[in-house]
């Protein structure tokens, strides 16, 4: 190493670069990011606000130009009977498909995390493929099958289609929850002579419940808003998105905006309530001084910590939380 190079290295190591300048630049960067985020959120909200605002429009013939504020559209939603029928169909389809998909998906999620079996990779692939397939292909495939089997399209075929694409999403959502569940809790239950059924309904199910609810909400949202697959498999039956699609050519009545806005508000309230509920439960669990996983070592310690955690969970659920929250 030449003397000069050695000097350079020494300089680099001993003399630190001026840091304040960089910190200043970082500050500007953070500030810029904040401004960007505000602009981005505003952008994301534009069509939502637009849709909600035009649900209050005093409509003459088309709902394109703003003519003044009115509550009429909200008070007389079913003056456009087609809108209400379509909405009712969407609810019926959404609820049925959600129940079916959540039941089958939850069972599959538990099996995938808890058991080793042959065809495991094949099952995972079977679950992944529907999510990686474009909706047109899913829709056209099912429609081709219904056609060749001679099954008439209607509400029933829509439910079949929606259940199919919701299952994968349920499995992914619930699976994460099952994976984070401590098997020691169930072992503790078995040690206390609970029957397998009791263990499932009193320990496993309440612990999985937040995940299952999240999966059900996701399913319903996916089903309620699906148009592409529905369009291929609905025949003459009309769901809310299908109604909007056919009405788009001649103009959407403000009542459709009312339905969409109402659903939006309901969903936002649900999300906020779940988040606040989760935060409250977490706090309550913290207060009941749950011992840390790492605090107790050894078999006896493990059982002890599992038992006290069970007690904490039991307390939180009997306090009216309706289920156990996050452990962490």
């Amino acid at each position: 190493m030449t003397l000069q190079a050695g000097k350079a290295v020494e300089d680099a190591v001993v003399t630190p670069r001026p840091r304040p300048r960089r910190r200043f630049r970082l500050g500007v960067g953070a500030w810029g990011l904040g401004v960007y985020a505000v602009i981005a959120f505003t952008f994301l909200l534009i069509p939502i606000v637009y849709t909600i605002v035009f649900s209050f429009n005093d409509v003459r013939r088309t709902n394109i130009v703003w003519r003044g504020f009115t509550l009429d559209n909200w008070l007389k939603v079913c003056d456009q009977p087609e809108v209400c029928t379509a909405f009712g169909n969407s609810i019926l389809v959404g609820v049925t498909a959600t129940l079916l998909a959540t039941a089958m998906g939850t069972a599959m999620a538990i099996a995938l995390v808890r058991y080793r079996f042959r065809f495991r990779a094949a099952t995972t692939l079977l679950l992944f493929l529907p999510m990686a397939t474009p909706e047109v292909v899913l829709g056209a495939g099912l429609a081709a099958q219904f056609l060749s089997a001679g099954i008439p399209k209607g509400i029933g075929t829509i439910i079949i289609a929606h259940t199919m694409f919701c299952i994968s999403f349920v499995v992914v959502t619930v699976r994460a929850r099952v994976a984070s569940l401590d098997p020691a809790l169930e072992e503790a239950g078995r040690d206390l002579y609970a029957s397998p059924g009791q263990v499932f309904w009193r320990i496993t199910f309440p612990l999985l419940l937040p995940g299952i609810i999240a999966a059900a909400l996701l399913s319903f949202a996916l089903s309620f808003d699906d148009f592409i697959i529905t369009n291929f498999n609905s025949g003459a039956a009309v769901t809310f998105p299908k109604y909007v699609y056919t009405a788009a050519a001649r103009g959407i009545p403000a009542q459709a905006n009312v339905i969409a806005s109402a659903v939006f508000f309901l969903a936002i309230i649900l999300v906020i309530a779940t988040q606040i509920g989760g935060a409250v439960r977490r706090k309550r669990l913290e207060r009941s001084s749950v011992p840390d996983d790492t605090a107790s070592v050894g078999a006896s310690g493990e059982i002890e910590s599992a038992a006290s955690r069970l007690r904490a969970l039991w307390e939180s659920s009997s306090l009216g939380a309706g289920g156990a929250g996050d452990r962490r």
Partner: protein, 308 residues
């Protein structure tokens, strides 16, 4: 809500590494309904789609929409020669929309996942805002953009006043509006997985980069970006796949025109209006095959193989 569903991998790590039990009957009982359902209503339809794609016109039928099973390769040749502009357009539009959504989403996900970490309430609010578009009807929010971009709308009037747009030019019905719509509609699919990755990013690595005299830019390129790559990969896939098959944004009644028709529009028209089922089926298979090849190559290159 179900943010986990959009992450590249389960958001939480197993609490204990207890080896999964071997379970014959119970596992079978739990798996069977779902697996049978998916086989019956996903796998069988795929097979039926492949069979349909080879069908030939029924020589004995006089009405349209009657086909018999055959092995007519010609269907594929026909659809590719007829619709290659639509096929190329689909993947071009989808790729552009994916890149735009990534550029839009990454900084946003960074703010939510890293900068807002110390403010859980703000973070929850920001995430709610990101998924808010999901809660308003897909079709209605696309129509809202159509009206915002309409010839009498604010945007066109402003652009014409600035002479950026000629008096006879439109925004709706152009590739611009279709790509814009695709980008907007799939932004949450891009933002959430990237957020999931960045949220788990250990900031000590970033600090270490700074301590080792890396510039913020090279710390980002060498530390932050590689660590968030799984999120970028799943976000890209979650955006690209539905975007390439979408036909709402490109539809004439929404943001597109006949000049912007994508492969989805052609499949819909052939299946539901022209009742040319073999053509629609062949196009669907082409779409699916291209996507599988692209996704396979992309995932292999990025090295994230466990996407579920």
């Amino acid at each position: 809500m179900a943010f986990g569903a959009f992450g590249g991998s389960p958001a939480t790590t197993p609490a204990s590494d207890a080896a999964p039990r071997r379970g014959g009957l119970i596992a079978l009982f739990l798996l069977l309904p779902g697996a049978a359902y998916l086989s019956l209503f996903f796998l069988v339809p795929l097979v039926s789609l492949i069979l349909t794609s080879f069908q030939a016109v029924d020589p004995n039928a006089f009405e349209i929409g009657k086909f018999v099973y055959a092995f007519q390769w010609q269907n594929y040749v026909d659809v590719v020669t007829t619709y290659w502009p639509h096929i190329l357009r689909s993947f071009g539009y989808a790729a552009l929309a994916t890149v735009l959504a990534l550029l839009f989403s990454y900084p946003l996900a960074y703010v939510i996942g890293v900068k807002l970490r110390r403010f859980p309430l703000l973070q929850a609010l920001a995430l709610t805002l990101v998924i808010a578009p999901f809660f308003i009807s897909f079709l209605l929010r696309t129509l809202a953009w159509k009206q915002i971009f309409s010839d009498e709308g604010v945007v066109v009037t402003a652009l014409q006043a600035l002479s950026l747009l000629g008096p006879a030019d439109h925004l709706t019905g152009t590739p611009f509006s279709v790509i814009f719509g695709l980008t907007y509609n799939f932004i949450p699919f891009m933002t959430l997985p990237i957020y999931t990755s960045l949220e788990r990013l250990d900031l000590r690595y970033v600090e270490a980069g700074g301590d080792l005299y890396a510039s913020p830019a090279s710390t980002f390129l060498r530390v932050t970006l590689p660590l968030s790559l799984p999120g970028v990969v799943s976000g890209t896939l979650l955006t690209f796949i539905p975007a390439s098959g979408d036909y709402i944004n490109a539809s004439r009644d929404f943001l597109g025109s006949t000049d912007t028709a994508m492969i989805g529009n052609v499949i819909e028209a052939n299946f539901l209006q022209l009742q040319n089922y073999p053509a629609a089926a062949a196009l669907s298979i082409v779409l699916m095959a291209v996507i599988l090849v692209l996704v396979g190559a992309y995932v292999r290159r990025s090295g994230t193989e466990d996407l579920l």
